[in-house]
């Protein structure tokens, strides 16, 4: 921008008594202002639509987009709706076992993978990444085809009729979530202080005791983050759920999708707000627990859950 000050110190003539850090010229100020304005606009862009959903859940008018007055009536209305009640129950019936099993299996695999030959680990890693990279819609439809074909085969061979329902959703959700937990726990494992494990063994602790008292506490933040992510993914998922659910196992996102395909109502917004509050509570619980536990995360800025997610993705 300004004329090249190639001579460095001898540019004194131009900048008079220039301080060590060059003062901002007009271009510099413009850049500073622009960076800040842009950042504010992006955050507004990110939060405004969510805020609007929350605000319009308090709209007295039954047409979501025209504001006529404040009302809290849509919350009792939504919660008294038996379809919403069922969907909410289904969401929990699916998300909780999914999160428990995915966390268990993912953690087990992360621990086991330290002990397998390199070649096995490379194959396992490749499959893990494939499970995350492949678009959700492809996984959803491929799983649907697998279920349909598999169920047909089982009925023809054994005469047992299997149906789509909670179990098929849980099984499908667990694929992605197991990979997620596996990656989070492995990140934790690789950053772990090995000398403690060795010290524990030197002090004649059994392997199980070493695991329980040394390894597990260090892995806990990763495991916890994995559990919360797995729960939230399952709780919020639409695509995989819609293609693997059966009659009577619709979850909340499926209900919301069905509603907004027609038109957005304040009742939908109220349900959405409840969902938002719930998942946010999960995030903050995770953040709180992780920050309390972050003595060991050197150099990660103590960003807790956020840092973990940001770095994982």
């Amino acid at each position: 921008m300004s004329a090249p000050a190639l001579a460095g110190e001898s540019a004194v003539g131009r900048l008079a008594s220039a301080p060590r850090r060059p003062q901002l010229d007009r271009g510099g100020i413009a850049v500073e202002v622009w960076l800040r304005v842009q950042a504010s606009l992006v955050y507004a862009f990110l939060y405004l639509p969510i805020a609007i959903v929350v605000v319009f859940s308090f709209n007295a008018n039954s047409l979501a987009t025209i504001w006529t007055g404040f009302s809290v009536n849509w919350y009792p209305t939504a919660l008294a709706n038996s379809v919403v009640q069922n969907a909410l129950a289904n969401s929990f019936i699916v998300a909780i076992p999914n999160a428990i099993l995915a966390t268990l299996f993912g953690t087990m695999a992360a621990l086991g993978l330290q002990r397998v030959p390199r070649r096995v680990r490379i194959v396992f890693d490749a499959v893990t990444y494939v499970s995350i990279i492949i678009p959700e819609i492809v996984i959803a439809l491929a799983t649907l085809v697998l279920y349909a074909t598999g169920f047909g085969f089982i009925e023809d061979t054994f005469g047992i009729k299997l149906r789509f329902g909670h179990v098929t959703i849980i099984a499908a959700h667990m694929l992605f979530n197991t990979s997620l937990v596996l990656l989070l726990v492995r990140a934790r494992l690789s950053g772990m202080d090995r000398t403690l494990v060795e010290a524990s063994a030197d002090l004649f602790a059994t392997p199980w005791r070493t695991f329980r008292q040394i390894t597990f506490p260090q892995l806990l933040p990763g495991i916890m983050a994995g559990f919360l992510l797995a729960f939230t993914f399952s709780f919020d998922d639409y695509v995989i759920t819609t293609f693997t659910s059966g009659p009577g196992s619709s979850t909340l996102p499926l209900w919301v999708f069905g509603q907004v395909k027609r038109s957005v109502s304040p009742e939908t917004n109220a349900v959405a707000t409840i969902m938002l509050l719930f998942t946010l509570a999960m995030l903050f619980v995770g953040q709180f627990l992780l920050l309390r536990n972050s003595r060991r995360t050197q150099g990660r800025g103590g960003a807790g859950m956020a840092g973990m997610i940001a770095e994982q993705r």
Binding site: M1, P4, A5, L6, P22, E32, W34, L35, R36, Q38, V42, Y43, L46, Y47, P49, V53, M108, A109, L111, G112, R115, V116, F124, V127, Y129, I134, P135, E136, V138, I139, L141, A142, T143, L144, V145, M174, L175, L182, D236, Y238, P253, F257, V260, K261, V264, A272, M275, L276, T279, L280, L283, Q287, G301, A303, A306, G307, I309, A310, E311, R313
Partner: protein, 302 residues
């Protein structure tokens, strides 16, 4: 150890090794089984189905034909969802980059001690329901609000944003922006700021410094971020369904039509296989690019 105890000790050691191997196997087994049954098997099935033909009543009938691929690769009409997805994903990636790079730069260099807060503020919307965040734009862009407002401005009563590619593009950028910002932020945060000062001291202008110092340093994060947003955008289904009213017909929507409405599983399978190939090529290129000339994988996020 005494010489006499060699045999029992060896036995014990072998027993220990077997037990250890068994434990390893049991630890990896559940996840491995899940991958086998719910990832590898479904992918194998659609790969096999992609060479088959549609059964009379829909579904799959065994055959070995390449028609399903030939139809997509040879017929522009049938390839339309792919080109639409590709242009949407490229547009969305560029959009996220234009918005995400300055933001990541701001957080990395100007946010000071509040970096963690700014990142948390990015994680929060990303953490909340994708579906809710998507449909919120129905209200924002609807004829009752922004859509109608712009319509009034340009004096066109039929002006709509929803149901157009623009709405889908906004949804895509909105949905995946944080994935672009995270890796960019990580690389920019690690950047040695003295390089920028050195560049300025050497008389480079702001733009030259950005182009020759900051951008090359941010490049790995930029590529990572682009891949992270490009891949899900390419396979997006919910956003075109909701914000595009299903009129914006992308690969994800074509897949659903094939599998559920036309019940032509082989045609759908072929599309799915091609889509997976596009992903794998993208990721392979990415891995090659990031690991090029160096052994470590410090910035490889995938």
């Amino acid at each position: 150890m005494a010489a006499g105890a060699a045999t029992p000790a060896a036995d014990r050691e072998r027993g220990g090794r077997i037990r250890s191997a068994l434990l390893t196997f049991l630890l990896v087994l559940p996840a491995g089984a899940w991958y086998l049954v719910l990832l590898i098997a479904p992918l194998a099935i659609i790969t096999i189905f992609s060479f088959g033909v549609r059964a009379k009543n829909g579904g799959y009938a065994p055959a070995f034909v390449l028609d399903n691929y030939a139809a997509i690769l040879g017929d522009l009409q049938k390839a339309a969802p792919f080109t639409a997805s590709l242009s949407m994903a490229i547009g969305g990636t560029i959009g996220s980059l234009l918005i995400g790079l300055p933001l990541a730069y701001f957080i990395a260099t100007r946010a000071g001690r509040r970096k963690g807060l700014f990142i948390l503020l990015l994680v929060i919307p990303f953490w909340t329901s994708f579906l809710i965040r998507t449909y919120s734009w129905l209200i924002v862009l609807g004829p009752g609000s922004l859509g109608g407002f712009i319509g009034d401005l340009v004096g066109d009563d039929n002006f709509r944003i929803l149901g157009t590619p623009v709405a889908v593009l906004i949804g895509l950028v909105y949905g995946y922006l944080p994935l672009m910002v995270f890796p960019l932020y990580v690389t920019l945060e690690r950047m040695d700021r003295t390089l920028v000062e050195a560049s300025k001291d050497l008389g480079a202008g702001r733009w030259a410094t950005f182009r020759q110092v900051t951008l090359p340093i941010a490049l790995p994060g930029l590529i990572t971020g682009s891949i992270l947003v490009f891949i899900p955008m390419m396979g997006e289904y919910v956003i075109p369904q909701i914000l595009g009213y299903g009129r914006i017909y992308l690969v994800g929507n074509a897949l659903v039509t094939d599998f559920l409405e036309a019940r032509n599983w082989p045609a759908g399978s072929a599309k799915a296989v091609i889509l997976i190939f596009v992903m794998l090529i993208t990721v392979t290129f990415y891995t090659w690019f990031v690991n090029r000339g160096r052994k470590g994988r410090e910035v490889s996020v995938l």
